[in-house]
């Protein structure tokens, strides 16, 4: 079974530790601009959301790539960019509906989340557990449970 990065924004504190560890593991520097994951924070409402690549099964970045440089990793299911065949036409950055694929001008490379080859560092370092790496079906199940609990609340109120 393929695992997914499961994001629970209600747990995110907006500390941006994930951004730091992500850029450190991939490029060796603490630079949020080079991070594959980025936290969007709304100060007024106090809401933070770690925006990360969804590894779509029918991925816009993969469809739009003229040379097929973006392929699915058989082991992790992550969409990976082959730097050697990539033309740097940056079509994938325009195509991604989540803005999770972008261009790093200094390294001249397209960067996107590669799930750290099946061992995501952001998950290990997230202090509040807002990002977790789980089997796709259990990720769904916990959401279903939460919905069921809400239903239960509503029904009990009605009794």
């Amino acid at each position: 079974m393929s695992k997914v990065l499961f994001v629970e924004p209600e747990k995110c504190t907006g500390c941006r530790t994930c951004e730091l560890i992500c850029s450190f593991t991939h490029v060796g520097e603490f630079n949020p601009l080079r991070s594959r994951v980025s936290v969007v924070s709304f100060e007024k409402t106090g809401f933070s959301f770690p925006a990360v690549c969804q590894q779509c099964s029918v991925a816009a970045c993969m469809q739009v790539c003229p040379v097929g440089a973006i392929t699915k990793d058989q082991l992790t299911g992550a969409m990976k960019v082959n730097d050697k065949t990539c033309l740097r036409c940056k079509m994938c950055t325009i195509a991604c509906p989540f803005g999770a694929t972008f261009y790093d001008g200094e390294h001249d490379a397209i960067i996107k989340c590669d799930l750290c080859d099946g061992d995501p560092e952001c998950v290990k370092f997230c202090p509040s557990g807002a990002i977790s790496y789980r089997e796709a079906y259990t990720a769904n199940r916990s959401k279903r449970k939460a919905t069921a609990a809400k239903f239960q609340e509503v029904f009990e109120e009605g009794r």
Partner: protein, 246 residues
């Protein structure tokens, strides 16, 4: 199958090019026109190597990027003959693209002499054709080589603006000598004698892509997206999630 490269036995698969084998084994071969997305073209001739084939008395000079290995051969990548060919090539290329650091590095390595008397317009383009291939891969083919001989250059048909060009700059990005110039000035982008008006992000107002690029994307992916730039898409996603949560 085994072949010998610089007196070293290396296992190869039939059909692999010499360049592919050397790249895999970290044997240095300079190239300009080679890109993994397209394979070898044999245009720049920088990858020339000396090959000793069975049943031939004389060694042959071949372009490593277009020579598929089909029999047991001996390859020399830094012999005197190879060095001489590369020296000549670098010497000539340096007249066309003197500002390029990689050519400068190779000129130093192969001790290429200067050619002050040769009259060449140092426009930077070394006719490696990578831009043509990139444009072709994008499905556009807006540019091609025009004229022949010493006048040969890369251009759009009749140097006029063409409907094919979508202003993606893939040609400029892939150019090994940065010879393709474009102008990006706020809401306008000019390349290949064509000026594009950039589409602005609906959220932050920053211009981010040409209309033709967005059209191309729609054709490829088959779905409509809001005209929002890449950093703003994260914000939009986040605010949608926030709305759903509350």
């Amino acid at each position: 199958m085994f072949i010998t490269i610089n007196n070293r036995q290396i296992e190869v698969q039939t059909g692999e090019t010499i360049l592919q084998v050397c790249r895999r084994e970290n044997i240095f071969i300079p190239t300009f026109c080679y890109h993994e997305a397209f394979g070898g073209q044999g245009a720049c001739r920088m990858c020339m190597v000396e090959v000793k084939e069975n049943g031939r008395n004389k060694n042959r000079l071949v372009a490593a990027c277009t020579y598929p290995v089909t029999a047991t051969i001996e390859v020399f990548t830094e012999s005197d003959r190879v060095q001489q060919v590369r020296r000549t090539l670098v010497m000539l290329l340096k007249r066309r693209a003197a500002q390029d650091p990689y050519i400068e590095e190779l000129a130093h390595k192969y001790e290429a002499p200067l050619l002050p008397k040769l009259k060449v317009d140092p426009q930077g383009c070394i006719l490696c054709r990578l831009c043509i291939l990139a444009c072709e891969k994008m499905g556009k083919s807006a540019i091609w080589t025009v004229l022949r001989g010493i006048d040969k250059r890369i251009a759009t048909p009749y140097d006029e603006e063409t409907d094919e060009c979508m202003g993606c700059k893939a040609c400029a990005e892939i150019c090994p000598t940065q010879a393709i110039t474009f102008l990006e000035d706020g809401e306008k982008r000019s390349i290949w004698n064509k000026t594009f008006t950039l589409v602005s992000c609906e959220r932050c107002g920053k211009p981010y892509a040409t209309r033709e690029q967005l059209e191309y994307m729609r054709e490829q992916t088959g779905y409509e997206t809001a005209q929002i730039c890449e950093p703003c898409r994260k914000k939009t996603l986040a605010s949608q999630v926030e709305k759903y949560q509350n």
